[in-house]
């Protein structure tokens, strides 16, 4: 009897072991992500003259302290980043996605609302108070911070002093500029110098956006409702835009390449856009000393409009399901979230107007810029930044703007503004309907 018992126990044991081994084999799936030994970060950004340079310098600084970390900075067109993020996040496939991604402020709320769970909370990396007040709202959702604000999008009028003076105007004339005055100067420039005043891309109505914000308005109102038909600031902006086109002082460009090419080749006398364009302007080293920066022109026809606005600007976000959340957060904490040395370096290299408050302590901030004729451009930028009217970008800026581009096209073509905007109000409401 004893023998049988022992046998039974042995057999049972053997079978159990066999089953354990087998089942182990069956369930043993390969888990790819979250390998602690894999210290590779991927960063996606656009604009190789600006954001990419910044990312690469941050990488250098980070790798000094963490030599085993591999940081892979990928240059992409912003459209590509948008398309790939949307495709991958909606299907929750993280293969090939970056750990850190630069997202434009206008789009941030849309992403944070649609994919809240995909972004890492960064409250332990930085505090909203560390950054310029107008920037931090877009990086938050439900009171939690998801993005590290990066560059200021403060708008400015970059202009060629040589052309302006040749046209009979002074740098004085460029201060406290209105769009009416701008067109006037443009006509003179066109006449005297044979160059256009600025470029316009018919499919990009950033100018209208800036004008609108200078009057404290947006495509959506404070509650996030589409506001086109009865938006006086918008109407005034479109009017100013139409005047600009009709004046015949603009160079029509179809793409970014031509936009950059136009001012680099001396084909336009000014560039009215965000301060982030400065490094692209500085690429044309032969034009050093010929440029100056003035505030954004206000709309004379709109009382609310002031000489300050904003365009673009972006923040760094961490995708938490790609597999290196902690490393990515550590990277941001040691670089963009508070490293004044990095900011100081970037001021020099890419004319970064940082939104990090402590960055104003960086020595390079008070330096005059040789390229801009010794002008203390950072002082100017930061002064204007403080004045930028705060608006609610909402979640649908680009969805509405796609529609508005068409509307502006029609109005510039001669259609009646009120009826066109009335039609497009309905379309825009339909487009953003949830």
């Amino acid at each position: 009897m004893k023998v049988k018992k022992v046998l039974a126990v042995m057999m049972a044991g053997t079978m159990a072991m066999g089953i354990a081994v087998c089942s182990d084999a069956g369930l043993g799936t390969v888990k790819a992500a979250d390998d602690a030994s894999d210290k590779t970060l991927t960063i996606w950004a656009w604009d190789e003259a600006f954001n990419i340079v910044a990312a690469n310098e941050a990488k250098e600084i980070y790798q000094k302290e963490n030599p085993d970390a591999e940081v892979n900075v990928v240059t992409m067109a912003q459209d590509d980043i948008v398309a790939k993020l949307n495709t991958s996040l909606s299907s929750q496939s993280y293969d090939g996605l970056p750990d850190i991604v630069l997202i434009e402020d206008y789009k941030a709320q849309g992403y944070l609302t649609a994919y809240t769970d995909e972004f890492a909370e960064l409250d332990d990396v930085a505090k909203p108070d560390d950054f310029a007040a107008y920037k931090t709202g877009v990086n938050q959702a439900d009171g939690k911070m998801y993005g590290i604000p990066f560059d200021s999008g403060v708008a400015a009028t970059f202009y060629r002093t040589d052309y302006i003076e040749e046209a009979g105007y002074t740098q004085e004339d460029m201060q406290d500029l209105t769009w009416e005055k701008y067109i006037e100067i443009g006509k003179a420039v066109k006449e005297k110098c044979g160059v256009d005043m600025c470029t316009l891309d018919p499919s990009d109505i950033g100018q209208i956006r800036m004008m609108m914000q200078s009057a404290g308005s947006w495509y959506t109102d404070a509650e996030g409702k589409v506001s086109i038909e009865d938006n006086q600031a918008l109407k005034d902006a479109v009017t100013e835009y139409k005047n600009l086109v009709d004046a015949g002082i603009t160079k029509q460009v179809a793409d970014w390449d031509q936009f950059v090419g136009a001012f680099n080749n001396g084909e336009v006398a000014s560039v009215v856009t965000g301060c982030w364009i400065a490094p692209s302007i500085q690429k044309a080293e032969d034009q050093s000393g010929k440029w100056a920066v003035a505030p954004f022109p206000k709309m004379e026809i709109n009382d609310a409009s002031i000489n300050a606005s904003s365009i673009g600007g972006a923040g760094w976000y961490v995708l938490k399901n790609v597999g290196h959340e902690e490393l990515a957060k550590d990277f941001l904490a040691k670089t963009f979230a508070g490293n004044v040395d990095l900011m100081n370096q970037l001021v020099k290299d890419i004319t970064l107007v940082s939104t990090l408050n402590t960055a104003s302590e960086a020595p390079n901030y008070s330096e005059g810029s040789e390229f801009f004729g010794g002008q203390k451009i950072f002082d100017d930028f930061s002064n204007w930044t403080k004045e930028v009217p705060s608006v609610n970008y909402g979640m649908h800026t680009y969805a509405i703007e796609d529609i508005m581009t068409e509307a502006v096209q029609a109005i510039v073509g001669g259609a009646d503004m009120d009826s066109v905007l009335g039609d497009y109000q309905i379309q825009a409401e339909a487009a953003v309907a949830q």
């Binding site: 067109a77 398309a83 499919s203 086109v245 015949g248 970014w256 096209q409 073509g413």
Partner: protein, 586 residues
């Protein structure tokens, strides 16, 4: 105790056999199963991959179709025509043109294609790109580049071209695949521009990524043998000259099986005419199978089961053979223990049966031997008593002749005494068939025998008898003393020399000691041996000689009893007989 396992022992042999059996069974079954499933796997896997491969082909052709649509949209857009023309335009018109260009192109690009960039360059170097990026290569260089030349040489179709670097800021550091198409005027067939649709090679990989793995490679190879795209980044841009690819292409079948360096390869291949390429999918079946069979795990399972079986076998065999080895030890010791020790009936049924049989055999053997010994004893007794019955006839003649002489001399009294003694002697030896008599009767017999001898040979030898009190009635074998007295008479006193024969009987503990002592000439060692060995040719009273006496004593009383003879030349001989003292019971 010998506990160690001998190499030759049953346990070791069984264990070895079982281990060998289990392992070879596992090996053979594994080999057969793997072999069978390999064939099935290669076939099914090949078939399923064939579907995947077809899917890639379709996707790529769809992709081509989409690119074709984009190119056609550009070609048929008035806005692009206008834009690429030389000369200034009215601001409002140019504004409209540019907007129309953008929207024409946007409509033409399917929403699921988001990783291409479309660049249009006029022969006058006017350019358009649909992405927010700059064109980093000078336009003159682009127009003179290999890709442009290829497209201008074949203006009717899209030309695919692989370049180490793209022409724009986002692609200048990555390998790209470009689809280039010349735009020509309808009538004159003169080219007025080129469309470059650029996709990064890493994005292009998504078309076949789901096919590739460690075991499966994909190659897109153009007509010159150059690899346009592959998951193996090393070979891109190089000429691929693997024989099996060429063989597969020549075979003209979608799925081609071949062997290369001992690897079993399945080569899927198809012509991609739009791309002017041939697509190859190479599956290394060996590697694909490796994933299927986890060899270390199979070995581990075999080892675990094998070890368990061995342990169980060891226990069972040990259990079975323990009584057997006990039995073996007992059997080898049985001889030393007079075949008396029985086996314990334990262990398995067979072993119990064996033990029972052995015990029975041991019993049989014992009783046989006992019986045999009994028979032997009986036989010897019978022999001796037969000898004892044999009164030598010569003795009778000579005695009777001596008595006749006495009668003739007229010595009536002496002759009467002699006849009486003779009668007594005959009666006690022949008539009395008992084997045992009392010491007193034996002494009486001796007296009669000595009397007859004295009558026949004269009175020169005197016999004296000393029987200790209490010995008179002890049992003694009949005629056991007579041969020694007879021997002393005839050999102790040669040449008519006078002498004495003394017989002592006394107790020695529980034994009776009887000594026959003479003061004759004694014997040397040689004669002593003769005496014990064979019968002498002297005229004996009965068939029993000195040599028989010792046998008889040992036969009756046991080996520790018997006679000892002590003789010294010219001093005499002492014969000592020792046997157990027992009172006579009539």
């Amino acid at each position: 105790m010998r506990r160690g396992l001998h190499l030759n022992s049953m346990v070791v042999r069984i264990l070895c056999t079982v281990a060998l059996g289990v392992l070879s069974a596992a090996a053979i079954i594994s080999a057969i199963v793997i072999h069978i499933s390999t064939d099935i796997f290669v076939d099914t896997y090949g078939k399923s991959q064939e579907q995947v491969f077809r899917q890639i082909e379709n996707d790529l052709n769809d992709f081509h179709e989409n690119l074709m649509k984009i190119v056609n949209a550009v070609d048929s857009s008035w806005a692009f025509h206008l834009y690429l023309e030389d000369g200034e335009q009215e601001p409002a018109l140019s504004f409209q043109t540019v907007y129309q260009m953008d929207s024409d192109l946007e409509k033409a690009i399917p929403s699921n294609i988001n990783d291409i960039s479309v660049m249009v360059i006029g022969m006058n170097q006017k350019s358009y790109i649909n992405r927010a990026e700059t064109i980093t290569t000078p336009k003159g260089e682009i127009l003179a580049g290999e890709a442009a030349v290829k497209a201008l040489d074949n203006p009717d179709s899209i030309q695919y071209y692989m370049a180490e670097n793209g022409y724009t800021s986002t692609t200048k550091e990555s390998r790209v695949l470009m689809a280039v198409k010349a735009l020509c005027f309808l009538e004159s067939k003169e080219p007025y521009g080129l469309v470059f649709i650029t996709i990064k090679e890493e994005d292009f990989e998504k078309f076949y990524k789901f096919f590739t793995s460690d075991a499966a490679e994909f190659y897109l190879i153009d007509s010159s043998g150059e690899v346009i795209s592959s998951n193996d980044k090393e070979v891109i841009g190089r000429r691929e000259e693997k024989d099996y690819l060429a063989e597969a292409a020549e075979a003209g079948v979608l799925r081609y099986q071949t062997k290369e360096d001992g690897r079993l390869l399945t080569v899927l291949n198809t012509d991609m005419p739009y791309f002017a390429c041939r697509a190859y999918g190479v599956i290394d079946n060996g590697k694909a199978l490796d994933k299927l069979y986890n060899a270390p795990q199979i070995l581990l399972i075999c080892a675990v089961i094998g070890a368990a079986v061995m342990v169980i076998t060891l226990l069972v065999v040990r259990q079975t053979t323990r009584p057997l080895s006990v039995m073996v030890r007992k059997m080898s010791g049985a001889i030393d223990k007079d075949l008396k020790e029985h086996m314990d009936i334990t262990g398995s049924e067979e072993v119990q049966e064996l033990a029972r049989t052995y015990n029975r055999m041991l019993d049989d053997l014992n009783s046989y031997i006992t019986k045999l010994m009994e028979i032997q004893k009986e036989k010897r007794k019978a022999e001796i008593s037969a000898l004892q019955m044999q009164i030598n006839p010569h003795y009778i003649y000579n005695t009777l002749a001596s008595i006749k002489w006495l009668i003739y001399e007229g010595d009536t009294e002496k002759s009467t005494r002699t006849i009486d003694a003779f009668i007594m002697l005959l009666r006690n030896t022949i008539s009395n068939s008992d084997e045992f008599i009392t010491v007193g009767q034996e002494i009486e017999n001796l007296k009669n025998y000595v009397l007859i001898n004295n009558t026949r040979y004269g009175d020169r030898i005197k016999a004296e008898y000393f029987v200790a009190p209490g010995c008179q009635n002890c049992m003694i074998l009949k005629l056991i003393l007579q041969p020694f007295v007879e021997n002393a008479f005839f050999h102790g006193f040669p040449s008519e020399m006078p002498g004495h024969i003394q017989v002592f009987a006394e107790r020695d503990g529980s034994n009776l000691r009887i000594q026959i002592v003479d003061d004759g000439v004694g014997m040397d060692q040689g004669r002593l041996n003769d005496l014990k060995g064979k019968r002498t040719k002297t005229e004996h009273f009965t068939g029993i000689g000195v040599n028989n006496v010792d046998d008889r004593l040992k036969l009756v009383y046991g080996a520790e009893y018997g006679i000892s003879i002590d003789s010294t030349i010219n001093e005499g001989t002492t014969v000592t007989i020792i046997f157990p003292a027992e009172e006579f019971k009539a």
